[in-house]
Structure formats: C-alpha cells, structure tokens
Symmetry: none
Subunit: 167 residues, 4 copies
C-alpha cells in the first residue's frame, strides 16, 4: 500500500513535471517566432507607457522589441513627431543589442569616450535616453522598450513605465 500510493504520487508528480516542462519550454521558446517577450506583455508595456505619456500631457512614439531585437509592437500617439518613429525603434533595438539603458551607452560614446561613434554600427544606434532593456522575474533580458517624442528625460520616464508594467 505504501509503495503503491507513493508510486502513484511519484508517477503523478513525474507527469506534472513533464507537462510543466513542455509548457515552460513552449512559453520560453515562444511558438518558434517571437523570442523573449510575447505580444500580450509588449502591448501591456505600450499601454502603460502611453498612459504615463498622457498623464504627462505629452505625445510619444513607443516601440517594443523581443530578445532577438526584432520589433513586436509599436504605437505612435496622435500628433507625436514623425521623425521619432525611427528613433523609438532604434532606441529599443540599441537597449537590447547591448543590454543596457541607451543613455549609459551614450555616456561612453562621446568624443574622447571609450565607444566614440559606436552609433555607426548595427545600421544606426540611438544612444541618448529613452531605451531600456526589459527583464523577466529571473532577471534575464527578454526584450527592450524605446520611447521618443519629448525631452530625453521625459522619454526615459515613459520608457520606465513600460518596463514596470511587465515586471
């Protein structure tokens, strides 16, 4: 009896374990295309960033890329700079390409700095504030957000609101 019930339990646990593994596996590799952040998370980030921008009475372009630095979702708020479409996307890419806030890179890329003119790599980086990596609860980078449309300080505040929404 002891053995049988223990056996049943371990079988059940093993089965649960296997199912969990499968779920985990698919949720991490993300159905073959999107790697890292998924669309639900990305739209949540956009929504919270947009709310923050509205609260600040400003208009932003907001982009989210996945762990492969490929675009997942994007919005341009009505009246936001057209020139900031490309900047928001490049900020998100830059933050993921180097797994750090874009302005940290920018601090190193100034004339005389260690990474002077790094912006010319990767078909164009944007290294001023407004791009932030997005981490999962385990601390791994799953993507990044890029915001452009106002002062770099405000861009960064709005990007942070997007990051916080995914945590």
């Amino acid at each position: 009896m002891i053995n049988r019930s223990t056996g049943k339990l371990s079988k059940t646990l093993a089965r649960l374990f296997f199912i969990s593994l499968m779920c985990l596996s698919s949720s991490l590799v993300f159905a073959e295309g999107s790697v890292g952040i998924d669309l639900v998370q990305a739209e949540r980030a956009l929504k919270f960033a947009e709310k923050e921008a509205s609260k600040m009475n400003t208009k932003m372009n907001i982009a989210v890329v996945d762990a492969g630095a490929n675009l997942v979702a994007f919005i341009r708020m009505d009246g936001a700079f057209i020139g900031s479409i490309d900047i928001a996307i490049k900020k998100a890419k830059t933050a993921r390409l180097f797994d750090m806030p874009t302005d940290e890179l920018g601090a190193l890329s100034q004339p005389g700095g260690d990474l002077y003119n790094i912006e010319l790599s990767n078909e164009g980086l944007i290294t001023f504030a407004g791009g932030l990596p997005i981490h999962n609860s385990a601390g791994e980078v799953i993507g990044a957000i890029g915001v452009s449309g106002d002062t770099v300080e405000n861009d960064k505040i709005v990007a942070q609101a997007g990051v916080d929404a995914v945590k």
Copy 2:
C-alpha cells in the same frame, strides 16, 4: 415666418459650423504629425485583423500607416515570421504610396510590365497581396494596412478585416 427663416438660418449656420469643425479637425490632425488615420482607429484595425487571423488559425505581422505613409501602429503575433515584420510595414507603405492594393501594383511590375521593378524605388516596395489603402467615409485615403505571415490570399483577407473595422 420669422421663426421659419431664423430656423433655416440657424440650420445653415450650424451646418457651416460643423463643416468648419471638420476642416479644422483635419487641419489640426495634419498640423500635429499624424495625418489621416488616428491611433484609436489604427488600433481598432489591428485588433480586428488580429481576430480574423486567430479565427483562421494563423499568425500575422500587421502594420498601419497614416496618410503620410508613416507608421502608426504595429503588432507581431506570437510565432509569426520575423521576416514578415519588414514586409508588413512595406506593404502598408506601398498601399498608401500609390493608393491601391499592393497586388494591383504587383500585376504591373512583372517582367515586361509597365512598372517593371518599381519595387526598387522608395527604399523597397512590396507589391504582392496583403497591403490595402484605408478610406474614410468620404472616400479619402487616410492610411493603409499591411499584413504578412501566411499565403498572400490569407494576408489579404486579414488586411481586409482591418480595413472593414475602420469604416
């Protein structure tokens, strides 16, 4: 008599007022960056196109551009082709750049055709099916939608669902 003519006058004034509002509204929208379709409409188009794709059990990249052919909103459904990010955006741009379905342009761009290799203009067009202009109720082009991720037939069906959502 007085009342009737006053009533007519006020009706005329109200009409003029409404028309002025419309003009003002469109001129304001143009002045501020986003021309034509606004973000609410664009997100509505994305949402309906996404629903259609889910119903068809397929995964799409969906992009909406405004009357200036500049990106307003974009989503990549989980597992959709990474290579279709660029194609969806280019389909939307192409549809607005020439105010016609992308495949109508494609019919003219074949070897021997009137517009052979037009794809090389504008930093790259996509001229197969899946890009459609979006009109307002007055029949004016206010933007376009581009869809990529499945057969061109399915891409076009999903794009049409987005167009219909804005009408």
Copy 3:
C-alpha cells in the same frame, strides 16, 4: 510513516522539479544573449558541414544564425568565393526569417509568383538553395544555416550536413 516518507519524496521531487525548471529556463533563454542554438551546437554544425564540403572536394562559406536571426558562427574555407560570405550569411538569415528552406521561398518569388521580389525586403534576402532552418528535438526552430560556394545543389547538401549534426 506513510505521510512522512511520502512527504519527503514529494519534497525531493519538488526540489528536483524546481532545479530542472531553473536549468531548463537558463538553457532555453541562453544566458541572455544568444537565443536558440548555442555556440557549441553552431560550431558542431559548421564542422560537419565543412567535412561534407571537403568530402565533396569543394570550398564553402558556412554561416549559422540563432533564433533571433543573429550570427553565431561563420567560417570561410580556404579558397572559397569571397562574394559568398554575404550570401551564406543572408541564406542563414532568410531561412530563419521565414522558417523554411531558402529555395522554397525562391520558388514563390519568381516573376509571376506569389512573392515576386520578396528579396528586396529585410535589407536583402537570398532565396536560392543553401539555407535551411535548424530545429531542436521538439521540432522548434532554434536557428538556421546558410551555405554558399558551389552549385546550389551542393550548397544544399552541405547545409543539410550541418543541420543533421545538431539533431
């Protein structure tokens, strides 16, 4: 006794389960940078593809990209075409961007075909044979290989040798 031993067992299983989850999680997300195939697998693919090329007495450029379509490893065999460096890399990217052999895409991109001139997207695709997606044992795409240097038939045979090495 029954409860205690069962309790211990389930605790142990739970612990194993948690550890496995952690391991799986890190192996799938790949230490934050490389998504999908890792360097050991990529170098194995290169090595087997190179051996196949040597056996066929030909000289190849061979590239492996990860699930984000970003380069992981590359070799150019001595005397292989210099012009094929870019082609091998683009074949690998194309195979991952659309999760199919490059020549399947090429069959659809001919004049009159459904995807005519798709090569102009994504900053340049290569759609003739020699690019193949790489799957893990669960059937998920974890990257792709691209081979260029000989006839497209031979390119594809060498690419297949690389794919087989990762299974």
Copy 4:
C-alpha cells in the same frame, strides 16, 4: 670535406626549397580567394581569444578577416552582446583596412583630429580598441582580429591573445 660541402649545399637547397614552398603556398592561397591568413590560423586565433575571454569570465564576439579585409571566421560566445556582432567584424575590417590597431585610428578621428569622422567611410568603421592587425613571421599583415563584448581594455586583451596565437 666532400661530405661537409655536400651537406652545406643540400642544406642551402633545402632552405631554398622551403622558401619556394612558402612563396608558392602564399601565392596559391592568394590565387584562390582567401588572401593571407588561412582558416586553420583564423580558427586558432578564435580559439585562443575565446579561452582568454573565458579565463577573464567575459563573453565576446570575435571576428577574423584576411588580407583582403574579408571575413574568414567568427564566433559569438553564449550570452555575448548581439550588438557586438557587427562591431567585432567592423573592428577586424578597420584594423586591416588601415593596418593599425583600431584605437590608434580612433585617437586621430576625434573632433579636431586629423581624421575626424573617418568612421563614416567604408560603410562604417569602428575606431575604438579591440581591433588588431595580424602579421606573419616576416612582419607582413595577413589579416586582422576584432573583439567586442566588454570594456575596450578587455576587448583589446582578448584580441591580443588571438594575435599571439598566430605568431
């Protein structure tokens, strides 16, 4: 006496023979596509650079180009920055294009410097530390190595390990 002079002659002939082989070898290598460093040497440089990086507990992208500044071999260590793929390759190219360490060029390309914004040439140079030319025993440049993924100081140390491996 006879033996000694015969011995000298054969030694001289052997030396000439060896030198001819070397010349032939290098002219053959040039004739066939890869100029300068060959794949065996390039992989040796990668391997030693990778070992150095592991010893320093860091993750690098490492690229080797030949005397024609064309890519011979590349690896991205698991977890290394995705954005450093392009930078490592550009550092290697830059080091060969001007036959000097990338940071020597960078010292001249600052605002007010003799080569201000030289980075805009050749489809993008990287002029901070981490790119080094590779010489043969005769002191001729046979290629270059580029390393990116950590501080520029560490990038350069790892690049030097690659250079030393080929000597």
